[in-house]
Symmetry: D2
Subunit: 298 residues, 4 copies
């Protein structure tokens, strides 16, 4: 597999008005985001509402994505689980289905520690031959991985040298991790809705992996930055930060994102699964406003 980098879109899981997985909307999202120029997809991520899917739905979503993408870009599959065994099973299924990599967060467990986390990644890597993206998102795992632990995992587990970093301040932490792993080819993706993408790139990040509903903007920023046209990258970034920040609101971010993708014509129904919240009128009005200002086509 080629090294993973650039802009990966974390795919939402669209549902019908009755709450079932909606594969038609999902394939339309894929087409829309491919036309936006993304370098790859991530399915079954946190913002894919993976925690609210059954296992059968997980399989169905991943199959839909892989079949529809059909190798045009690599697909990463979320494989986080509370138990090692389930994590390995998810990883194996993802590998066999054709995923280019899996994304794994530390298992949630009271009294977990750095040794147990490091061992978890080593065991998965030893069980399945597939690249692992280490997801560093403490609100989900309940465990904050220090730069030294991320560096230790990268050193000990060659398959796990890509990090999705979502523990703020992410640019600062990116620098710290890269300082500790200069001799390794560690690749760091920013997340957090793209809200710190420019600064993450300046600190050495390899790209972004997030569900922001206009990834063409991220693609443009990364391309300009890589071309050394940093002023232009920055301008493109700053002008869209208000939108990214608005979409990435705690608690209602997923609902906003789906509403945007509905407006963009990709998904039929913007609902998220309960107990996830719904948007109120004020939030819709504020969304209208920031979309208009950011001058993006919906």
């Amino acid at each position: 597999m080629a090294a993973i980098g650039g802009v990966f879109s974390v795919l939402p899981t669209p549902f019908t008005s009755s709450g079932d997985v909606d594969p038609d909307s999902l394939t339309r999202v894929i087409d829309l985001l491919l036309s936006d120029g993304v370098d790859g997809f991530t399915a079954l991520g946190v913002t894919s509402e993976v925690a609210r899917l059954t296992e059968a739905e997980r399989d169905r979503v991943l199959d839909t994505v892989l079949t529809h993408v059909h190798g045009r870009v690599p697909v990463v599959a979320g494989a986080t689980a509370e138990g090692l065994r389930t994590c390995i099973e998810y990883t194996r299924r993802a590998r066999h289905a054709g995923s280019a990599a899996v994304m794994i967060s530390p298992p949630r467990m009271p009294k977990i520690n750095s040794d147990a986390v490091a061992k978890h990644f080593a065991e998965v890597a030893s069980a399945v031959d597939v690249p692992i993206i280490v997801q560093d998102y403490p609100p989900i795992s309940g465990y904050a991985m220090e730069p030294a632990l991320l560096a230790r995992i990268a050193r000990d587990v060659p398959a796990a040298r890509t990090i999705k970093l979502e523990d703020p301040p992410t640019p600062f932490k990116t620098s710290r991790i890269l300082e500790l792993t200069r001799d390794l080819d560690v690749r760091i993706f920013g997340g957090l809705g793209g809200v710190f993408l420019l600064e993450e790139l300046m600190a050495g990040a390899a790209g972004a992996m997030t569900g922001f509903a206009f990834p063409a903007i991220l693609v443009q920023i990364v391309a300009l930055f890589r071309a050394g046209r940093v002023d232009e990258a920055a301008d493109a970034f700053y002008r869209r930060v208000p939108l990214m920040r608005f979409e990435f609101q705690e608690g209602i971010g997923m609902a906003i994102r789906k509403e945007v993708l509905r407006r963009r014509g990709a998904i039929a129904h913007a609902g998220i699964r309960p107990p996830g919240g719904t948007l109120d009128d004020q939030t819709r009005l504020a969304l209208d406003r920031v979309l208009a200002w950011a001058d993006v086509k919906v």
Copy 2:
């Protein structure tokens, strides 16, 4: 269904040395605990390592339990899930399989609030006609339910008037909840390994629901207490508190419990699934000592 009360054993999920679910050990545990006199069982609970089971394993474990128990005592099935839809599906499966009730903890979600929690229980109750045991165990759900919320759920959702209370101080909280629900038939089970059973009963609890590996002790305490022989109940309780406390240690409690059930001849292999920890020699020595003192047969 008769009202649920008395001593319910939360069943461990035994695994073979290769980590598979071990139904033979599970049925032996059931037989052992039935001979200890328990009033019912709870399967797929937190200490059943339910978070480390696949859905197929969940089904297999529940089927094994229901088939083997064969109606001799009621069986409660854990049905907690992060999404309402999955929670309803688990509840429906449990009902169809023959469970007497389900046990449900608030869904884990950032920014959850009391309205969302109350609605979750109401929605499950409206979807499936089965008694619901509300599990109040904040370390798992990440949300502390105040007595007023538990009372509100009991008032609004008649199917959800049984509470498994594991938010210390449990005797004190039992009193507060019962004060707020005097006009309702709310039933509260203590948990926490039985470590506060006597005080919970004094405060009005209906029994205990826990995985303590010697439930005959709990059965005896509850029987004496109900017979008004409180001094004897207290003596039986206090003499076994050292053992209960030892078994119920954070982080290694499940491993100790399985080791005891192995020594009691019920389970073939005491291992828990990674990343769960294992016992060290000092802990085994300390277990030997407290077992000997508590004068229980293993």
Copy 3:
């Protein structure tokens, strides 16, 4: 006292290179921010590093502020404490020293609940006759106040009808609180570095109370918004969101803010007290860039 509204600057506490409180820098910050047009100040707030001040330093800082402001604008004093008695003492001192109001967060305590929080505010209000700003910032207090609790406090404690809201999503929560308190004159301030100021105003907020180092921008946005010139307010806001967001980074936000105020000539030394962190070169470069783009004079 006139009702508190508009833009209140939360003052940093500048230190000398040897770590002592630096009153000269503090008075220069006040002058600078007054020239920026702020409607008031808040001293001894979270970003004032109040948790790292001794009581003597608290008094010195507040005296310096009140003396130098000399009634030109109202001054709010932080009075949060873990114990009610200390909170009342801080409130009393603040009142006697001439503060227009105090700002209080729920006391940090294991097992705290909504009744205890409501009582805390009622007791302070009954002990000291001074307006109370209820600070809703869960990372500091460890307790998330639901809209219903904030409404209950506003209803029961007339002195506590101003809220500093920093529990995202703040615009959404602002709407919920105002819905529950339509018959009361509840006033809500946004915080969070101003990053959602426009949306908070759209939802009905009365202003902003934050330490953002260019409050003139906030003043302009609020003035335009109040004048009904919402498009202009929005434009002024969106163009500065990149800067606000950058300054308001978790973990290093206070260090960035002080660095900006140093560059603006107000404070002699940008250091924060340990264990607070320091800036790295990458963060300084990124700051240079965003300052240049936002076209603000430093």
Copy 4:
């Protein structure tokens, strides 16, 4: 100073019925516990309600303790603070006042990490020449120190080789820390109300530092254990575990403890400072019962 070991009582801070510090009760507590045979005292600890004392009260309490103890046993002073500078100031005051050691927990700070924690202890040690007891009590500091970090601090900071360990499972963690520090003279005290004292001693602990209201029991257990009379130590321990466990209830433990010390004649008024809770009748009845069973004189 002689090495600290054995049984140290963490002193409560008694208050009068009007909520003032009550030095007469405090000195009576000291006399009572000295007659119980304690090896030392700890003042200004968590269960001393130190978070609810003003600085003047801190000084008054420590002076009262040191003056009244008058060198008969060593006194440890709590010196935890959120800022390094305040921590050093507390440490200096404690040293000058005559404390034998200070007890320090990691500073509470968002985004703190192991480097910052290690540095904090090193800086205090370099500023003041006094033994430091590292307090490992995650609920208070918000940071869980892994065995490797505690070993690193012990290695790097010779003054900080005593640990008050309150992160369960404490016997297991004691073993892990001692394994990593075999070449150093690390001394570990159990806490947690004494509820795991026997197992902590078996794992190598040097004693107990807790506020349990009958320290004579702890003294007896430690003496028997050190004399190699482990069976007797265990019997003395197990028979009092029910009482220790009852006293050490989350949320109301301090209130129970003060009530016991009031019954023992030492303190005039058992109240704790708000927002700390008060006991209900059921809890008092349950206390009566467990005291009677444990056969302790009150």
